[in-house]
Amino acid sequence: MRWFRGTDEAQDKPVTKSSAHQRISRHSTGFTEFTRTLAGYKNPSVLDLGPTSSANISFLTGYGGRVYNEDILRAAREAASGLKQGEVAESLDPQSFFIENLAHPEHRFDAILCWDIPDYLHEALVKPMVERISTILKPGGVMLAFFHTKDAGPDSPYCRYHIGQREILELEPAPDFRLQRIFNNRHIENLFKEFSSLKFFLARDNIREVLAVR
């Protein structure tokens, strides 16, 4: 695993200020597979862990089910906002964080969109978040997550994901968060060890798309 948090490389560089609304469209095989699975459910419950996106809500409600939205990165930032930079890793208590966040009954969701949140989330929250996801996802349910590859640097912009069409995602650069680390395949497998299967799709833009089945 390659770390950026706490290194000079990460801290010296200002957060990338990309101009908003310059959306980049990209084809996503992982998302195509995700929607294929979703189409098999009747009135699926879907949890979107990214920022609120009307495009995503529009697309997902089209399946006739319930859509839940919970911006985990923003919640983590708010939880850490009272702490000094050096204290965050030690003082951010996952237990209390997940009492208020991702607090859903077991096996509530048929599908979860995790996007690339693990790459940007505080280290203390990554593993507990994946554990919580595995709890609230139904057996056989799917989760889609994206991971940067080793070619990405600490200044890789954080992007909001908007669903364009069934196979197309639109990435909107947002200045809010900085890449914390890069997972390699083995770390990803360990992270999702509670899941029954993992499919990896390597995209051209240095993103590994992972479709995990509970």
Binding site: P51, T52, S54, S58, Y68, N69
Partner: protein, 190 residues
């Protein structure tokens, strides 16, 4: 074109229940009798209020604890804790509005902060300054980029029976029910 300023107040003109002279007709083209009638209509009058704009306004210094209910459109910029019931009318929560309550209305427009569930028989609009924690149940939803929403969304293909009934009760000849198909509008910042 779709964005309204945070300080916009909803302006809803309630049409006359029966055909009559145009409420704001050119004075030059109407008789003195009808002119005086129009002038009266423009004033806040209990007896002839069908022509006036009916939006109640609650300012930011007002705090309410308990049940807030009404039978007219409401612009709310204060604080409320309890419940809000404007069954067949529009609620606009201003940028200073802070609501900790479940809300029932025909249309809900949110600029401020809400903790509670929203049930709108027709439409919910989340403006970019909106912070909503709670579930939404509606036929149509409009979300501006930048709005924060945490909760579940249920798009009702047909209004829930009790909501629909309430919406129809407004006026048989003026109520236009929202399209039956679910619709989410896409809005972006300028």
């Amino acid at each position: 074109m779709w964005k309204s300023r945070p300080d916009d107040k909803p302006v809803t003109e309630r049409p006359s229940p029966q055909p009559g002279p145009a409420p704001f007709a050119n004075p030059a083209s109407v008789s003195p009798a009808s002119l005086s009638k129009d002038t009266r209509a423009a004033e806040p009058s209990k007896t002839n209020d069908t022509f006036r704009v009916e939006v109640a306004h609650i300012g930011k210094s007002v705090k309410v604890k308990g049940e807030l209910s009404g039978s007219e459109d409401l612009y709310f910029d204060g604080e409320v804790e309890g419940s809000v019931d404007l069954c067949e009318h529009t609620l606009t929560v201003g940028p200073n509005g802070r609501i900790r309550a479940n809300i029932l209305a025909r249309e809900i427009i949110v600029h401020g902060k809400i903790e509670g569930n929203l049930r709108a028989s027709e439409k919910v609009e989340l403006k970019k300054s909106c912070v909503l924690t709670g579930d939404i149940s509606t036929q149509r939803i409009v979300i501006e980029d930048g709005a924060f929403f945490r909760g579940a969304i249920d798009i009702q293909k047909d209004g829930k029976p009790e909501l629909k009934k309430a919406a129809i009760a407004v006026s048989a000849d003026t109520t236009a029910m929202a399209a039956s198909s679910p619709q989410v509008s896409l809005l972006h910042d300028e």
